[in-house]
Amino acid sequence: MPSENIIERERCVTGIDGLDNILNGGIPRGNTILFTGSCGTGKTTLSLEFLVHGALADENSLFVSVTESSDKLTTNVIPYDFFEESLIKTGKLAFVDMPVIYERLGLTNVEFSLEDVDTLVRALGNLVDELSVKRLVIDSITSVCYRLKTEEKIREFILKIGKALSNRGCTSLLISEISPSADRYSLYGVEEAIADGIVLMGNYERRGDLLRTLQVVKMRGTTHSRAKYVLDLTPAGVLLVPLLKGGGGI
């Protein structure tokens, strides 16, 4: 449990009980976290919950969808017991499609230049300013990296976006897709070195069941557990139970 003397930085309380406990009170505000895992591990769901809790706590939240249309995503949010449609109507929870941003900025080349990276970071900064965004999710950063191609440009993008968001007091989750067998936390290996934190999500097979797992690998600005937790997606939100204590209803 968090204790007063451990907390050095202001926290962004994720609203996901188990995760806040692991992080001793939440993500240090302004941190840029890499949420990484293979498909179906619950990255998008968890990040949406992070935003919904933010919006409920009066923190404007923005979901930047790169691969999926945001219309489709909003229907995925609805099953939560604690979700209120008014959050979207009042703009507390907003969705934008990255391809529309690309289009508006004329970023039509398959490979972005360094100038394009600046343009994109500036545009995201503009949106965060305009909407006073305190929580942001980019799903997925891997899809953006496909357009950056080189390590140099990926490094530039993550550093700049991290700085731009942090300066604005915005806590951000960058969703990263990796293959289940990957021996690193991000596709290009660059993202993980730069991010303020890494949360690894995976699958774990036990007695014929495929369990979802979550592990905080790194988090600047706080002490945290590095244990593996079992993650359950329920209408009440994400539930986390330590793996060794037999989570997931086993």
Partner: protein, 248 residues
């Protein structure tokens, strides 16, 4: 002898085959200010009443094309397909919008305004394909004017432009139509100019020379397919009725 149709300049018709054989593609070149664009319009006017005239314009507006024809006392019953305007709407206007967002910043409202149908519209347009598709749909008897090739040579690769000219030529030939394309002289390298000249059936150049305090124009028949004996130089005169030629 194949059926012929007028090129729009009587003396030039005489110098060719008492007109231009149907199915032919003509190239008209000249440096800026020589009267190439006017030649294109006079050629267009010569087909009115006998042929379906379609004028593909890359730089002038529809009104500008028709007004110019009106000023010389020609009829204006032609269809203008404005590639230049399409280019503005699809590319330049979008570029302007992009520069605005880049300079002034992107607002949520700008993103919300952009819906799926706009996303579809914003697909890249290949104007070369637009041109050849437009021409492939023309029903005979037709007369095509393409003013000018310069636009396409500027934005597309040379082999693609040459291939488009071949398509236009083949369609014109098969349907007994008649086509005229214009190209500025001295802008593109010799290889491109020769490439285009090689495809067309007739090449005409309008030349302007300075003689003392006056300009003197000549019409050079540079190439007539299978009739090298018909290549010659005519003097060219331009007045309120348009372009006329005289055998030297």
């Amino acid at each position: 002898m194949a059926e012929t149709t007028s090129i729009g300049v009587a003396e030039l018709d005489k110098s060719l085959m008492n007109g231009v054989p149907r199915g032919y593609t003509i190239l008209v070149t000249g440096t800026p200010g020589t009267g190439v664009e006017l030649f294109a319009k006079q050629f267009a006017a010569a087909g009115i009443g006998k042929e379906n005239v379609t004028y593909f314009s890359t730089t002038e507006s529809d009104e500008a094309v028709k007004n110019a024809m009106k000023e010389f006392g020609w009829k204006q019953d032609i269809r203008v397909v404005n590639i230049g305007k399409m280019y503005y709407e699809k590319v330049l206007a979008k570029n302007l919008e992009v520069s605005k967002y880049r300079q002034e910043g992107l607002k949520m409202r700008d993103i919300k305004q952009f819906n799926a149908s706009q996303a579809e519209q914003s697909q890249d347009v290949n104007f070369l394909t637009t041109l050849t598709y437009g021409i492939s749909k023309l029903k005979p008897p037709f007369r095509i004017v393409l003013d000018s090739l310069d636009f396409f040579l500027e934005y597309y690769d040379e082999p693609d432009v040459l291939s488009a000219i071949r398509t236009i030529k083949a369609h014109t030939h098969l349907n007994n139509g008649i086509a005229l394309v214009t190209m500025l002289k001295g802008v593109f390298d010799n290889r491109v100019e020769s490439g285009v000249q090689d495809i067309v059936d007739i090449t005409i150049e309008i030349e302007r020379l300075r003689e003392g305090s006056e300009f003197k124009r000549n019409i050079l028949i540079r190439k007539v397919r299978n009739h090298p004996e018909k290549t010659k130089i005519l003097s060219c005169h331009i007045d309120e009725k348009g372009i006329s030629a005289k055998t030297l």
